[in-house]
């Protein structure tokens, strides 16, 4: 049972169905024929909202077909909830329309921003963790939940830099955000690990600070080492390879705390063939099965 459906109703956000607590993958159009050729041992698919903002054509034909047989997570990458400026109202309206069209079990976005003053840079940029920014982000989340008519999940970021002015640890920032807005947490275990290594922190301690009772979905992905010899450890959240051994291990420790939660394999670059991606998701599924038995 995911936490999402048990969340208190705040800010006008209506009750939303939750993703089933099984494995899922990020949908890639090149896998479409393989996916519909046979029943898949997957609980859900996730798509990036911004790839489905045209009116029609193949993207919507494929998504409608997938939606028929599977639970759906719509994952936004462009709303910039973490920015200091106002949300893009036109974009929020497009997201609302997409949610009305597909009625996804989950809508999620990032604790990040992507541009300023009408500019969109297609990256998930870090923000200072200050009381002022927390208030701004909470207002953005409430505005988004009002517009989308559902509680949303917010994903913890993979970061490389910190801000001198930050005064709130990330876990506390996210915990307070969920408390103020009723939003859930999309726990990206790879992001957590990458950020911990990049900032010289202990991933388990970072994990303990997060609002683990609010986790509605987990993301797993690959990362790559990027440090030069003699420099501080540095990992880049590249989404282009298998999930690493330490991230699988951290995922297993997460599940001991949360119980089984919908878990997504994100593989966005150097996308493998369908059997490889499905096998990665089934590996996550085996962990979830174990968590269910232990529960």
């Amino acid at each position: 049972m995911s936490q999402v459906s048990m969340m208190p109703q705040r800010g006008g956000a209506a009750r939303a169905p939750a993703l089933p607590p099984g494995p899922g993958v990020g949908f890639k159009p090149q896998h479409f024929a393989d996916i519909i050729a046979a029943p898949q041992p997957l609980a859900f698919f996730e798509v990036h909202a911004e790839n489905y903002m045209g009116e029609g054509g193949r993207p919507h034909a494929q998504l409608a077909r997938l939606r028929r047989d599977h639970a759906l997570s719509i994952h936004g990458v462009g709303l910039a909830l973490g920015g200091s400026g106002p949300l893009d109202g036109a974009h929020l309206a497009r997201l609302a329309r997409l949610c009305e069209r597909y009625e996804p079990e989950s809508f999620s976005e990032h604790l990040a921003w992507a541009g300023h003053g009408g500019m969109f840079l297609n990256d998930l940029l870090p923000l200072p963790y200050t009381p002022e920014r927390l208030a701004t982000v909470a207002a953005h989340v409430e505005q988004a939940q009002e517009a989308l008519k559902r509680p949303i999940l917010i994903e913890n970021p993979a970061t490389y830099l910190t801000f001198a002015e930050s005064s709130i640890p990330e876990g506390e920032f996210l915990a307070e955000l969920t408390r103020r807005t009723g939003c859930g947490l999309l726990l990206d275990v790879n992001n957590l690990f990458v950020s911990a290594i990049n900032h010289g922190l202990d991933p388990d301690r970072m994990l303990a600070a997060l609002p683990l009772d609010r986790v509605g979905e987990i993301h797993l992905a690959g990362h790559v080492p990027a440090a030069s010899p003699g420099t501080a450890p540095l990992l880049v959240d590249a989404h282009g390879s298998h999930v690493s051994a330490p991230v699988w291990a951290l995922f297993a420790r997460v599940l001991r705390r949360t119980g089984p939660v919908a878990t997504l394999i994100e593989w966005d670059n150097d996308v493998p063939d369908w059997p490889t991606l499905r096998a990665e998701a089934e590996r996550a599924g085996a962990h979830l099965l174990q968590a269910r038995k232990a529960a």
Binding site: N51, F120, N122, D123, L125, L161
Partner: protein, 256 residues
């Protein structure tokens, strides 16, 4: 300094290829902030250039990967996206190429980019059934009289002084790559009757007919409107075959 300005400085620094990172950032373990800021700068440049490469595959084929990458980076810096909908990014790329000095020797390039942009628009446009010759032929006069036709929502066209259709087909691998003996202008018709975008030659009078079809019209009114420019018989059948026309209304009423 208000936070608003800090975001703006961060964003502008990302677009400057060699500039210093904005102040106020720290990195763990004494690592260089510039090195870590470069991860973001790289993501911005690479992913936005890739978005353009996906949208303009034939332009890329025509100029080669290195030239395209340089042009794309210059465009990203000059005109970063203004919306998170990256399918819309590149609407200004053709005009940018027309003013991009290194592309001056390829005067046909902007029109090839315009054509590829129309193909992206068509790919994402509203779905609608395309009217067919058989569909019209099967109508009785009573049924045909109140029927109106309109441009199919995925239909686009481009009249060019360059052989854009042939250039596109050769460089997309649809025709053998051979030297062009004469560089006559061509007009392109882009349609998507179902899910696949089609590129065909626009028939003579097709641009006038598609312009007229912006407003739904009956066959009689269409015929009258096309009379001064050669009539309906030449242009309508090939437009129907390409899926460029939809039925706007029937005796039962308006269709979507």
């Amino acid at each position: 300094m208000p936070a608003l300005h800090a975001d703006e400085r961060f964003a502008r620094a990302l677009l400057a290829p060699d500039g210093a990172p904005p102040p106020g950032l720290t990195a763990a373990g004494g690592d260089a902030v510039a090195r870590r800021f470069a991860i973001h700068r790289n993501t911005v440049g690479v992913t936005l250039s890739e978005a353009l490469a996906v949208a303009f595959p034939v332009v890329r084929q025509l100029v080669g990967d290195d030239f395209f990458a340089a042009a794309a980076r210059a465009f990203v810096t000059a005109a970063p996206p203004t919306s998170p909908v990256l399918a819309d990014y590149g609407a200004g790329f053709a005009d940018f190429l027309a003013r991009f000095p290194p592309a001056a020797e390829l005067p046909y390039l902007p029109d090839v980019a315009r054509l590829e942009r129309l193909m992206v628009e068509s790919y994402h446009s509203t779905d609608a059934p395309a009217e067919t010759r058989a569909g019209l032929a099967g109508l009785s006069p009573q049924e045909a009289a109140p029927l109106t036709l309109a441009r199919h929502p995925a239909a686009r066209w481009l009249c060019s002084p360059w052989p854009v259709v042939t250039l596109w087909r050769m460089n997309a691998g649809h025709l053998p790559l051979t030297p062009l003996s004469h560089w006559a202008g061509e007009s392109a018709l882009v349609t998507r009757p179902e899910l696949d975008v089609m590129l065909t030659a626009l028939p003579v009078g097709g641009d006038q007919l598609l312009s007229v079809l912006e407003t739904p019209l009956s066959l009689a009114a269409l015929s009258e409107a096309m009379e001064p420019v050669g009539g309906l018989a030449g242009a309508l059948p090939p437009l129907l075959d390409a899926g460029a026309v939809r039925r706007a209304s029937t005796p039962q009423g308006e269709q979507r």
